[in-house]
C-alpha cells in the first residue's frame, strides 16, 4: 500500500506540474484558465492519496452512491478451525483469539492486589513482539439458558441441603449445613432476580494476527502465536487460558452475537405492542 500511495502521489503531482507549466507556455487565456482549474483538481487528488488511496479503487467500482471497497465476506474460518482468515488484495491474514478467564472481582481484593493486577496486565502488553489486541467485552446472553443453569445449580443445592438435614443437626455437620443453607439462599435469590433485567456476561480476550501465503499457512502461524501468548498470559496471571475455536470466535467479532435472538424478539414484541 505505501508503494501504491507514493506512486499515485508522484503521478498526480507530475500531471499537476505539467499542467501548471502548460499555462505558462500556452498563451491562450481562456484555455490557460481551464488548464489551471484542472491543475487545481489534480493537486487536490494528489493530496487525497495521503490518507484515501484505498478509496480510489472503491470509486472505480462504485454502484450508484455506494463506494465499493469490498463486496466479499469480511472473513472466513481457517481450515484449522482455530482462527479466521481475511484476504486483502493479494495478501492473506489470519487472526486467533485467546480466552482470558479472570473471575476475581475487585471487591475480593486488597488495595495492594488491585494495584498488582493492573501492573500484571501491563506486563502482558510486552509479551509479544507482534501487535496484540486485548479486549474486555460486555455482551448480552440468552437468559433462558442462564435460568436453566441456575435451576440446575439450585436443584443440586436443595439436594445437598436435604441430605445434610436428614443427617441430623450434629456438630460435625453444622458448618457444612450452614454453608449449604447459604448457598441455597444465594441460588434462590439469583433465580428471583434474574428476570428483572437482561443478563450480561463479561469476557476478556486477546487477539493476534499473522500473514501467510495461503489460508492454512496464515492460520497455523496465527494459532502458534496464540498458543505462545496463551502460555505467557497464563503464567503471568496464574490462570488457564485457551485458544478459542469455531463458533466461540464469532462472539468476539460479529455484532449479532453480542445481542442474542431472545432479546431481539422481546424488543420486536414490545414495538408491536407499543
Amino acid at each position: 500500500m505505501p508503494n501504491t500511495r507514493i506512486m499515485l502521489f508522484s503521478i498526480f503531482i507530475g500531471v499537476a506540474l505539467v499542467l501548471v507549466v502548460a499555462t505558462y507556455i500556452i498563451r491562450i487565456q481562456l484555455l490557460d484558465g481551464f488548464i489551471a482549474i484542472l491543475a487545481l483538481v489534480v493537486t487536490i487528488g494528489a493530496f487525497l492519496t495521503k490518507n484515501y488511496t484505498y478509496l480510489f479503487d472503491a470509486v472505480r467500482k462504485k454502484k450508484g452512491n455506494m463506494l465499493i471497497i469490498s463486496e466479499k465476506e469480511a472473513f472466513t474460518l481457517a481450515p484449522n478451525g482455530n482462527s479466521i482468515v481475511r484476504r486483502e488484495g493479494d495478501r492473506t491474514y489470519a487472526s486467533a483469539f485467546v480466552k482470558i478467564p479472570v473471575y476475581k472481582s475487585g471487591s475480593e481484593m486488597t488495595a495492594d492486589e488491585k494495584g498488582d493486577i493492573a501492573k500484571l496486565f501491563g506486563r502482558i502488553l510486552t509479551l509479544s513482539k507482534n501487535p496484540v489486541k486485548i479486549s474486555s467485552q460486555l455482551y448480552m446472553i440468552n437468559r433462558d439458558d442462564y435460568i436453566k443453569k441456575i435451576r440446575e445449580s439450585l436443584n443440586q443445592a436443595e439436594d445437598r441441603y436435604r441430605e445434610l438435614q436428614s443427617l441430623g443437626g450434629g456438630e460435625e455437620h453444622k458448618t457444612e449445613f450452614e454453608r449449604a443453607r447459604g448457598e441455597l439462599t444465594m441460588w434462590r435469590n439469583l433465580l428471583d432476580n434474574v428476570g428483572k433485567s437482561h443478563s450480561r456476561s463479561l469476557i476478556i480476550y486477546a487477539m493476534v494476527s499473522a500473514e501467510g501465503g495461503n489460508d492454512e499457512e496464515a492460520g497455523n502461524l496465527a494459532y502458534q502465536r496464540a498458543e505462545e501468548l496463551s502460555g505467557g498470559i497464563g503464567t503471568i496471571l496464574g490462570i488457564a487460558c485457551s485458544v478459542a475455536n469455531g463458533q466461540e470466535i464469532l462472539t468476539f467479532i460479529e455484532p449479532e452475537y453480542m445481542i442474542p435472538v431472545e432479546i431481539v424478539n422481546e424488543r420486536l414484541r414490545q414495538k408491536m405492542q407499543g
Binding site: A39, E73, A74, S107, A118, K133, I259
Partner: protein
C-alpha cells in the same frame, strides 16, 4: 508533523501557489481561478488537520456510502458501521480512549499513580454494573525495537543538551528557557534509564466500541448514539479523552476486528501513545 505530511503539504501548496501566481494569463477566468485556488489551499489544510470534519461533510452532502464487505457498510454520516442481518440492523460505533499527556516521574514512587491503579478495578466494575448494553474496551499494543528507541532518545537528549549549552553560553541567558530545557532533558533521561532497567518501549491505541440493534438503520443509529453518550459519561471517571470517532478512522478500526496491522500501518492510520 511528520516528514511525509510536510512533503505532501509543501508539494501541493507550491503547485497551488504557482497556479495563483499565473492569474494574469487566465483572462476572464482569472478571478474564478484565484477563488478556486484559495479554496483548494484551504481544503488541503482542512483535510490534513480536520479530515474527520471534511470527509463526513462531503459524504453527507453527496449521500455517499461505503461498502466495507458484503454485509457491512458505512452510511453517509461516516459515524458508524451498519450490518444488515436477518432483517435487522446492527450499528457499531467507536469512541477514543486516549490518555491525557503527562509526565511520569519514575525516580520516586508516585503515590497518586499507585492510588489510581488500586482504584481502577473498582471503577471498572462500577461501569460494568451500570451499563446495560453491549460494549467492548480495546487496547492494541505493540513493542518497539529497544535499540532503535534508545538511539532515538539519545539523539533527542543530545539535541536538548546542545540547545541548553547554547542558551547557557548566550550573552543574555533566559532562565525560564534553561529551566524548561533541563526539565525536558530529565524526562528523556528518565526514559533512557527505564529502558536500561529492562522495560520495553510500547506503543498503544485504546478505543471503545458499542453495538446497537434496530429494525431500521435510523433506529439502530439513534440507539447507538445514546449508548455512546452513556459510555462517554461513565468512562470520564478514568480521566481519559473520550470522543466519538467519525470518518476514515472507522474504516481502519473495523478492519482491526479481523486482523491487526503492523506498527508502520497502524501509525499511518492513527497516532499512537507511548
Amino acid at each position: 508533523m511528520d516528514a511525509e505530511t510536510i512533503v505532501y503539504l509543501s508539494a501541493t501548496s507550491m503547485i497551488i501557489v504557482f497556479v495563483i501566481a499565473g492569474i494574469g494569463n487566465y483572462g476572464l477566468l482569472g478571478i474564478p481561478v484565484l477563488v478556486l485556488g484559495i479554496a483548494a489551499l484551504i481544503m488541503i489544510f482542512a483535510l490534513n488537520f480536520a479530515d474527520f470534519i471534511v470527509f463526513p461533510m462531503i459524504t453527507k452532502s453527496l449521500n455517499i456510502e461505503v461498502s466495507l464487505s458484503g454485509e457491512h457498510k458505512v452510511p453517509s454520516s461516516q459515524s458508524c458501521i451498519i450490518k444488515h442481518v436477518n432483517g435487522l440492523y446492527y450499528a457499531t460505533g467507536y469512541l477514543t480512549a486516549n490518555v491525557y499527556k503527562y509526565v511520569f516521574s519514575a525516580e520516586s514512587a508516585n503515590m497518586d499513580e499507585d492510588q489510581s491503579l488500586a482504584a481502577a478495578p473498582d471503577k471498572w466494575e462500577r461501569i460494568i454494573m451500570n451499563t446495560k448494553f453491549p460494549f467492548r474496551f480495546n487496547l492494541v499494543s505493540m513493542t518497539e525495537e529497544v535499540q532503535k528507541y534508545r538511539e532515538n532518545l539519545e539523539g533527542q537528549r543530545g539535541f536538548l543538551e546542545f540547545q541548553l549549552s547554547r542558551e547557557v553560553n548566550a550573552a543574555n541567558p533566559n532562565q525560564l528557557t534553561i529551566t524548561e530545557l533541563q526539565r525536558k532533558i530529565n524526562i528523556v533521561q528518565t526514559r533512557i534509564d527505564r529502558i536500561s532497567g529492562g522495560e520495553l518501549p510500547t506503543y498503544s491505541i485504546m478505543y471503545i466500541e458499542s453495538t446497537a440493534m434496530g429494525v431500521s438503520e435510523k433506529e439502530a443509529s439513534d440507539i447507538l448514539t445514546e449508548q455512546l453518550n452513556h459510555l462517554q459519561t461513565v468512562f470520564n471517571t478514568f480521566d481519559l479523552s473520550i470522543i466519538r470517532i467519525v470518518g476514515r478512522e472507522i474504516h481502519a478500526l473495523h478492519s482491526l476486528n479481523y486482523r491487526l496491522m503492523h506498527m508502520d500501518e497502524l501509525t499511518k492510520h492513527f497516532q499512537t501513545q507511548n
